[in-house]
């Protein structure tokens, strides 16, 4: 069916009917999981049952109990407190990564897509070169140059994430820049920057938003991966990846230790993944 008839069809509907579209399960479930996780993490910033860095010799590898919901780790630290705190760190790192990645990606993608020509050729070849490396490997290189530390991880991962966003934004700009409404904007005297960021950018949002959600997942996993490798968040601070790497040694003696952390990562990623799908459906 052509767009034409669809336009007429939606017009005939009252707004109420329009709002009552098919139920978007992805969006609902995703939102519930994400909001719950965010509430947990926010609580973790202000309150944890125990000090997540405090060690207690007597509670080494203690099992699940009323005092310790998820037991204690090999230093006798409360796992639940550390998960609360650690997922906060992971979330912050992921958010920072995405901000750098999308911010620079939008600017790069907009410039290359809109102007084209030699600017596009040069920037996109550099982009391709960066894209050719797995993002974790790239981040490893940056870390070895910058040194470890939470801020450095954000920068390293952020840079590694730029190319994928730049590509998405660029292709959307390429699609939109030949539309007649862009010509119309030029005719009324709108400048290039205004056309790029006021006229075209909102049209890229649906695609961008869902890829931000997927990128967010990748960032969570990348942070966990790097901390697991020991080049991410440094001890004694908690992060989900860091903890997973510590739990590895006790996989057979205390499986609940690694499992509880794993479930947290899965929930975080699943929530954002479903949310991303849901937003895509909204479009």
């Amino acid at each position: 069916m052509s767009e034409k008839t669809h336009g007429v069809k939606t017009m005939r509907k009252s707004e109420k009917e329009q709002a009552a579209k098919r139920i978007n399960y992805n969006l609902r479930i995703g939102a519930v999981i994400t909001i719950t996780m965010c509430v947990f993490i926010l609580i973790g910033f202000v309150y944890t049952p125990y000090n997540p860095e405090a060690m207690d010799e007597t509670q080494k590898l203690a099992g699940i109990s009323w005092h310790h919901f998820l037991g204690c780790d090999n230093f006798g630290r409360d796992i639940f407190s550390r998960v609360l705190k650690g997922s906060g760190t992971t979330l912050l790192v992921a958010t920072g990564t995405i901000l750098i990645g999308t911010g620079a990606g939008i600017i790069l993608g907009a410039l290359t897509g809109y102007y084209g020509g030699w600017l596009d050729e040069i920037l996109m070849r550099i982009n391709d070169a960066i894209f050719a490396f797995p993002s974790i490997l790239l981040a490893l290189v940056f870390i070895s140059l910058l040194g470890t530390g939470t801020v450095n991880i954000v920068i390293a991962l952020g840079i590694a994430f730029i190319p994928s966003f730049a590509r998405i934004v660029r292709s959307e700009f390429l699609r939109c820049k030949n539309m007649d409404y862009v010509k119309q904007a030029k005719l009324i005297g709108a400048g290039d920057l205004r056309i790029m960021f006021v006229h075209i950018l909102p049209n890229t949002l649906p695609v961008l938003l869902s890829s931000v959600m997927i990128g967010f997942n990748n960032a969570v996993l990348a942070e966990a991966g790097m901390s697991y490798l020991g080049i991410g968040v440094q001890p004694p601070f908690a992060s989900l990846g860091r903890m997973l790497s510590e739990a590895q040694a006790y996989l057979f003696t205390r499986p609940g230790y690694a499992l509880s952390i794993g479930i947290f990562i899965i929930l975080l990623v699943l929530g954002f993944g479903l949310l991303g799908e849901g937003i895509k459906e909204l479009k």
Binding site: M1, S2, K4, T5, V8, K9, R12, K13, E17, Q18, A20, K21, R22
Partner: protein
Amino acid sequence: MGTILEIKDLNIEFHDHSVPETVVFDFSMQLQEGEIVGIVGESGSGKTMTALAIAGLLSRHDITKKGQIIFKEQDLLICKRSILREFQGKDISMIFQEPMTSLNPVRKIGWQVEESLRLHENLTKEELKKRAIDALREVELPEPEKIYRQYPHQLSGGMRQRVMIASAMICNPKILIADEATTALDVTIQAQIVQLLKRLNSKKNTAILFISHDLSLVRKLCTKVIVMQNGHIVERGNTEDIYQNPQEVYTKQLIAAIPKCEKNFE
């Protein structure tokens, strides 16, 4: 002359919103062998939906269809997919509005014209090629051998639409559905395509269902016409009768809207 297609009380209903919406109401018609019937209406009148239903291209799960579309003693709405597929392309074929998107840009013209033959008949490569070139010649394309090897982007809009007609006609179908087949073209090319359809109709005795918003084109081509508005049939009859003596207000509006070479706004 016998009836080859009969549509009885066709209703088409969409379910992609919470409240079902009917886009075609109680559509009935008969198509005789070798007849050219026009369906006229504005966008949103349900004419394209009707055409897609006849071609068996409306089978998405959120559309319900009531009524009957009878072709060769089969009800196209309920028959098996395999039977429907046997009809599609061989007995019933369709050409679309946009010649830019209805041809696959990465395939050569020859391959695309041959495609329905390849699916419905067992022929060797040479026979396929011969039939394809014959079909291209039949739609009055110059140098069919050359066009056979070309890609869609090398042709103009009018030529592409001729290619579409060639690939629709190659299996000598009983029914050709032309959905706004001339709308995207220049007036001069429109006239040529209409002439071509007329010639193909008299030569091969293919029944044509010509769907358009332009009554002047329908008048040039069709013996009978059905006027549709908002999913309902407003008026039907012989084209000349309706053109000379329209009964309904809507039909009168459609006739008045045909651009003429006179300054009727002064």
